[in-house]
Symmetry: C2
Subunit: 432 residues, 2 copies
Amino acid sequence: MLMRQLDSQQTGFDQMLDELTAWEDELDLAVNDTVRRVLGDISSRGDAALLEYTAQFDQLEVASAADLEVDQQRLRQALESITAEHRDALEQAAERIREYHQHQLQESWQYRDAAGNLLGQQISPLQCAGIYVPGGKASYPSSVLMNAIPAQVAGVEQIIMAVPSPRGALNDLVLAAAAIAGVDRVFTIGGAQAVAALAYGTETVPAVDKIVGPGNIYVATAKRMVFGRVGIDMIAGPSEILVICDGSTNPDWVAMDLFSQAEHDENAQAILLCPDEQYLSQVAASINRLLPEMERADIIRASLEGRGAMIRTRDLADAVAISNRLAPEHLELSVQDPEQLLPEIRHAGAIFMGPYTSESLGDYCAGPNHVLPTSRSSRFFSPLGVYDFQKRSSVIMCSEEGVQQLGKVASVLARGESLTAHARSAEMRLRD
Amino acid sequence: MLMRQLDSQQTGFDQMLDELTAWEDELDLAVNDTVRRVLGDISSRGDAALLEYTAQFDQLEVASAADLEVDQQRLRQALESITAEHRDALEQAAERIREYHQHQLQESWQYRDAAGNLLGQQISPLQCAGIYVPGGKASYPSSVLMNAIPAQVAGVEQIIMAVPSPRGALNDLVLAAAAIAGVDRVFTIGGAQAVAALAYGTETVPAVDKIVGPGNIYVATAKRMVFGRVGIDMIAGPSEILVICDGSTNPDWVAMDLFSQAEHDENAQAILLCPDEQYLSQVAASINRLLPEMERADIIRASLEGRGAMIRTRDLADAVAISNRLAPEHLELSVQDPEQLLPEIRHAGAIFMGPYTSESLGDYCAGPNHVLPTSRSSRFFSPLGVYDFQKRSSVIMCSEEGVQQLGKVASVLARGESLTAHARSAEMRLRD
């Protein structure tokens, strides 16, 4: 068997599950030190340091920092140069992603209380957002759409994209996606130095208000360190899928869904839960049969052997309980009546319901975002969304009448905290 | 003059303003190392380490970790023991805070596209939230209300409060506020060790999903380090107020509003913007007259001298432009027609409109939250709110019909990214 076989009723299951899913994003002190140095250098020396690190880490040597920018004409050129099929697919995906994300727009609101005080919240877009798009080994045009479109829907004025281009290699699909998504400026920078440039700004790269998008350990560490100076979205770990089956879905489909997660990288995690032992054997057979034909068979095999599992559960409710415990990034409810299970799902980045909804549809074009919380963080993080690019200001306008009540309460509480200037500033507004 | 006097039209003003408002939350390597050690210890040794650090940092020695918990009976006892005036004020404030925050509740939504695909977002509360309430030097019952009530409104099942109690001193107002706000469990722990206990869990303290609330540099550093394992709200710097005046508000009121910020600590920042030079002199006179009577005169003086400023602006539009540049935590629009200025405000944690709305009303009882983004971070952070205690899962259910279109788009894009398992998992669902 390629994937380990577990039974939720066996002795020691809970501990086995803990061990299987444990992912320590080790505090790597060497990485920390490197990133701290990069941040310090970019912060103090700007473009000069950015050029050095880009030459060192990306083997990209340019005469001046301006050469790190890819202009709008080059983006349009990329859009013209890709095949009609690719362009059409990117545009259809962008259209659907835009439509979905428009549902996330939040509106300002206000109300008046009985005393005539006005209370509310003013919601406004971020002014400038930085999106980080991985390059190099894997180039993902879909990530450009998923990061940029929510920012655009929110009304962000300037969307700045950073994408490393090792040895100067540019990916036309990525640039075309940037053109379609309305990215304002593109810089071929990556790693901690890109995060630093976006956070502090250099002579050439503008400082942004928030940095979103996944990256490697250097990018993740840099994002964590600049958090507070700028906003960030989340800290990404390896990708995961958890499939709950009732045994009614074509086993080949489920096998391929597990592969589609496993092919990302050796640390990706694919887990299948099903109460039907015979069905699990069928999926195992599909895996054995289909794996040899896969282009990325080695990665898939390493992922499934190292971190994958098929778990026989007592029933579907047991499967849902295990899923809630793992709070998976991607959850497929590959069952005949997924709507019945949906309200029981407490934690998941994205929920794919029914046999037809493969995770890959969500990855590219169904509409929802594919930047999702990993490593159990869907307990508190949400998918990347328009709300990541909007922020709120509280609004309060007290009437002369209203302050007569509020001022007394504030005065008592402020004096209880020994903050007498607070108390007196409220008391001064009271009529005698 | 106690506060420095600037003019927005003077040469070098922009740089002066930058220097005045600069706040480097210095990467303090010593603090970093200490916090890293505390996190490691609590994570590996749990209660035993928690007891040691609590004895060391808070001079609180107890026999077992269970003694660090304050039970519900003790909370109720505190509620009974405080004066009727205090209890009434806390309950009125809680009521108003609850009413305001109910407006922030977000609802799940769904729609079907033309092909019958179901798309949406399922919104659910966090299961377990940790709130950190500073203790020691200053005890703030209002912070208990401001942190716990949004969590309660969101529907969080377990609200765990950490409040340091140096040498075992407990503040009855803080405990009473916890009773009123519906806090489930209270632990007398603080500092990095409290953050670590909430993030990793110990034998006694449950691991939470998110940690919110302000604290000192150790707390802030610990929160940044555990971010990703748990959610956190924001990184707090010193408190700030920016007052925009048109010269129509009683100068004593404005002077006291500036004091109310400055009394928090020497690093707090109070800035007044006004186009009317004569009015600025009146406020300066009020400051000189009122300061000697203040209980916390030394702190106020240090804050105003060190970081305060009165800035004469060209006009109100100029004042708003400066405010947008500083993105203040608290912004008072102490003008006759604040509603006209409101749409021009791009960045602010909370906006207090008109002469009657002193910041102190918002700090305690107007309704909005007083946990607000500082140090220009209102460019991307929002006030603490119900949304901090809710998270979202994307929902996708494709129909057999829908997958015929989506599957083709996904296939093209996946192959463009060389992710062929993704492509095939979509293709398998297509009719021939």
